[in-house]
Amino acid sequence: MAAKKLRRAKLPQELCERLSRYQITTCQDFLCLSLLELMKVTGQSYRNVQKLLCQVSLACAPKMQTAYEMKVRRSVNPSSAFLSTTLHSLDEVLHGGVPCGSLTEITSPPGCGKTQFCILMSVLATLPVSMGGLDGAVVYIDTESAFSAERLVEIAGNRFPAYFDSDEKLFCMTRSIHLYRELTCDSVLKRIKSLEEEIISKKVKLIIIDSVASVVRKEFDTQLQGNLAERSNFLARGASLLKYLAEEFSIPVILTNQITTSLSNGLAIPADLVSPADDLFLSEVSGAPGSGKKESGCVTAALGNTWSHSVNTRLILQYHNLPTRQILVAKSPVAPFSVFFYTIEKSGLVLQD
C-alpha cells in the first residue's frame, strides 16, 4: 500500500511529473511531508493541497467494516476460524484451537516437544475438514534441521489409524508438506517474502517456522552495540510480513521460540517478564526450592519484549515430572491462564486428564 505510485492514486499527470522531479513518486513519500512542504513542491494553494492529501489518503486507507459484518462472515464459515489441535481440553480453553489469521508462538526449554507439536499440527492441517483439519498444504520452514519425515509418518499412522490405512493416503499427506531448510536470518526473511505466491499456488493452509529463536540468536549477539536494535528490526519486519499473510489468507501461523535466562553478567532484567506465567512456573521448575531461585535470574521467552508484543497467542511447554510435561496458555486474547499435562507418545502429544 505504501509503495503505491501516485499515478495510481489518480493524481493529474502534470502533478505527478512535477513531484517526481523532487523524488516524490509513492504515496509514502507524499504523506510523510508536512503541509507547507507539500505546498512548496506542488506549487498549489493550501486548500488544494488539503484536497490532494485527502485524495492520496483515500488511495491508501483501509476499507471500513463494522464488527457485525466481521462476525457474520465468521459465523458463515465457522470451521475456518480455528485449527483444532485434537488436545481436547486445550481446544476448549482456546475456543476451538490454534486461531487462524494470527500468530501463535510455542516456547519451551530444549527437548520439551516443540518440534513434536509442530509435526503434529502439520499432520492435522492436511486432514479433511470433516476430521477437523484444513484440507490444505503446509509450509514448514526448518532452521534447526530437526524435522523428521519418519516421525511424521509415525504420528500420522498412530494417531489416525482409521484414516491413514493405506500407504497411498500417507504419501498424499507427505506430499502436501513443503519443507524448506533455511539457515540464516536473511534467507528466512526472503523465504517469508516469497510465501505469498506459494500460498496461492499450492493452497497452503498452515505456516510453521521452527524455530525463529535459533537463527536469530545465532546471528545477533545482544551484548554487542547496536545489535539489539537490528534484531528488533528484523523480528518486527518478519512479524508484520507473517501477520499480513496470516490475515490475508486466513491461515494459522505457528512459530517456535526458546527459553532464555536473563543476562548473566549481573544485569537482572526482571522487567523483561512478559507475564507471570513466565516467572512463576518456569522458575518453580528450573530453580532450587527457596528464595534463591528469584535471585539467580528469571527465565523468560527469548527474543525480547517487542517480539512478545507481536505474537497474539503464546503457549509454553515445560517439564513437570518426567515423562509428564505441562503446557501453559500464557498469552491469549480469548483464554485465561491454564495448565494441562501431557506426555509424548508414538502418536504425538497426548493430554493427561
Binding site: M1, A2, Q28, L31, C32, S34, M39, T42, G43, Q44, S45, R47, L53, C54, V56, S57, L58, C60, A61, P62, K63, M64, T66, A67, Y68, M70, K71, R74, G101, S102, S232, N233, A236, R237, S240, K243, Y244, E247, L267, A268, I269, A271, D272, L273, V274, S275, P276, L280, G304, N305, T306, S308, H309, S310, V311, N312, R314, A330, P333, V334
Partner: protein
C-alpha cells in the same frame, strides 16, 4: 482587508510573483480584478480568478472571526468551561476502581494513552470501551458509536461479542430492578447486533495506512456524527520498525498527535491509544518504559500504565491533569474488564460495582 499578501494561502510561486510585482495587501489584489492581475503578473485569467477567490474566502473568514462568529478559535471563560466539563459524559470501563481513579471514566475530548507489557489487557480494555461507549444515556452511558483502528491484528470479534452480551445482560438486570419506561425503550435498541454494527473497524497494516486513515477521519466523523470514541490499538507497532530516520518518526508522531487532539475536540469524542513497553538498559538495571520515546509522552493528556505484580494485574494512573497518581488492581473475566472481587463475596455473583454518580447500586440478588 489590510492583510499582507505573503500571509495568504496561495501557492509559493504565485506569492513570489505578487511580491515581485509590488503587491502588498489583499485589498490591492481585490481592487485589481482578475484581468488586470493576469496582465500584470503574467498568469492566465483562470489562475488569477482562482487566486482572487481564495483571497476573498480568506478575508471573509477573517472578518467573521473578528466579529466573534463561529470560527476555529473561540474565547470563553473558565466558568463556561467548568460547566461544559461537568455536563460532559465519561465512558465507564465497568471496573469501578479504574473509573474512580480516572475521575469517572475515560473522558471525552481528551487523549488517553494505555501502556503495558504484552498480554496485560490493553486490547481487552479497548474492546470493553468500544462496547461501553454505546450504553444508552438512561443507564449512565454516552450513547455513542466507536471507531476501532487496529494495527496489530488483535481484535477478536468473538471476544467483543462476549463482552457486548455481558453488557446487554447487565443493563437488562438494571432495567428489571427499576422498571422505568425509558429503560425498557432503550433496551429495545441496545442489542448485540446493534452494538456490533456501530463499531467501525479499520485494519491498518503499516504507518502509511495509519496516517492516511487519520487524515480521512475528520470526514468520516462528520458523516457518522454519533461517534464518541476513537481507539487506535497499537500506535507503537507500525512505528517501531523500518524507521532509520528517527526525526521523521518524531515529526510524523507529533503530526498525528495534533490531528488526534483536533479530532477529539471538534467531535467531542474520546481518543484512546495503546502503546507498547520497551526495555531501557540503564547503568546497573534495566526498566520497562513506554515506547516511542520521551517526546511522545507529551501527546497524551492521560496516561495509564498496566503492569503485573506477581499474578495480579495492576493499573497505575501515571499522568493526569486533574486526578492524583494511584494504582488499583483489576481483572479480566469472560465478561470483560472488571474489578477484582473482594474475597468476602461468594464466587458466583454477577455484580460489579457501579459508579454511584451515574447509576444506582443494584442489590445482590443471588
Amino acid at each position: 482587508m489590510q492583510r499582507a499578501v505573503g500571509s495568504l494561502p496561495l501557492g509559493p510561486a504565485l506569492r513570489a510573483r505578487l511580491a515581485a510585482a509590488g503587491f502588498q495587501t489583499a485589498q490591492e489584489l481585490l481592487d485589481t480584478g482578475p484581468c488586470g492581475l493576469s496582465r500584470e503578473i503574467g498568469i492566465s485569467k483562470e489562475e488569477a480568478l482562482e487566486a482572487l477567490q481564495v483571497v476573498r474566502q480568506e478575508c471573509s473568514g477573517d472578518a467573521a472571526r473578528t466579529a466573534g462568529g463561529a470560527g476555529t478559535t473561540r474565547k470563553c471563560t473558565a466558568l463556561e468551561l467548568l460547566e461544559e466539563e461537568q455536563a460532559q459524559g465519561f465512558i465507564i470501563t465497568f471496573c469501578s476502581a479504574l473509573d474512580n481513579i480516572l475521575g469517572g471514566g475515560v473522558q471525552l475530548t481528551k487523549i488517553t494513552e494505555v501502556c503495558g507489557a504484552p498480554g496485560v489487557g490493553k486490547t481487552q480494555l479497548c474492546m470493553q470501551l468500544a462496547v461501553d461507549v454505546q450504553i444508552p444515556e438512561c443507564f449512565g452511558g454516552v450513547c455513542g458509536e466507536a471507531v476501532f483502528i487496529d494495527t496489530e491484528g488483535s481484535f477478536m470479534v468473538d471476544r467483543v461479542a462476549d463482552i457486548a452480551a455481558a453488557c446487554v445482560q447487565h443493563c437488562r438486570l438494571i432495567a428489571e430492578a427499576h422498571q422505568e419506561e425509558d429503560h425498557q425503550k432503550a433496551l429495545e435498541t441496545f442489542s448485540l447486533e446493534s452494538i456490533l454494527s456501530h463499531i467501525y473497524y479499520f485494519r491498518c497494516r503499516d504507518y502509511i495506512e495509519l496516517l492516511a486513515q487519520v487524515y480521512l477521519l475528520p470526514d468520516f466523523l462528520s458523516e457518522h456524527s454519533k461517534v464518541r470514541l476513537v481507539v487506535i490499538d497499537g500506535i507503537a507497532f507500525p512505528f517501531r520498525h523500518d524507521f532509520e530516520d528517527l526525526s521523521l518518526r518524531t515529526r510524523l508522531l507529533n503530526g498525528l498527535a495534533q490531528q488526534l487532539i483536533i479530532i477529539a475536540n471538534d467531535h467531542k469524542s474520546a481518543v484512546v491509544l495503546t502503546n507498547q513497553m520497551t526495555t531501557r538498559i540503564g547503568q546497573s538495571q534495566s526498566t520497562l518504559v513506554p515506547a516511542l520515546g520521551e517526546s511522545w509522552g507529551h501527546a497524551a493528556t492521560v496516561r495509564l500504565i498496566f503492569h503485573w505484580d506477581k499474578s495480579q494485574r495492576l493499573a497505575t494512573l501515571y499522568k493526569s491533569p486533574s486526578q492524583k497518581e494511584s494504582t488499583i488492581p483489576y481483572t479480566i473475566t469472560p465478561h470483560g474488564f472488571r474489578d477484582v472481587q473482594p474475597p468476602a463475596v461468594t464466587q458466583n455473583t454477577e455484580s460489579t460495582e457501579m459508579n454511584p454518580r451515574k447509576r444506582p447500586r443494584r442489590e445482590e440478588e443471588k
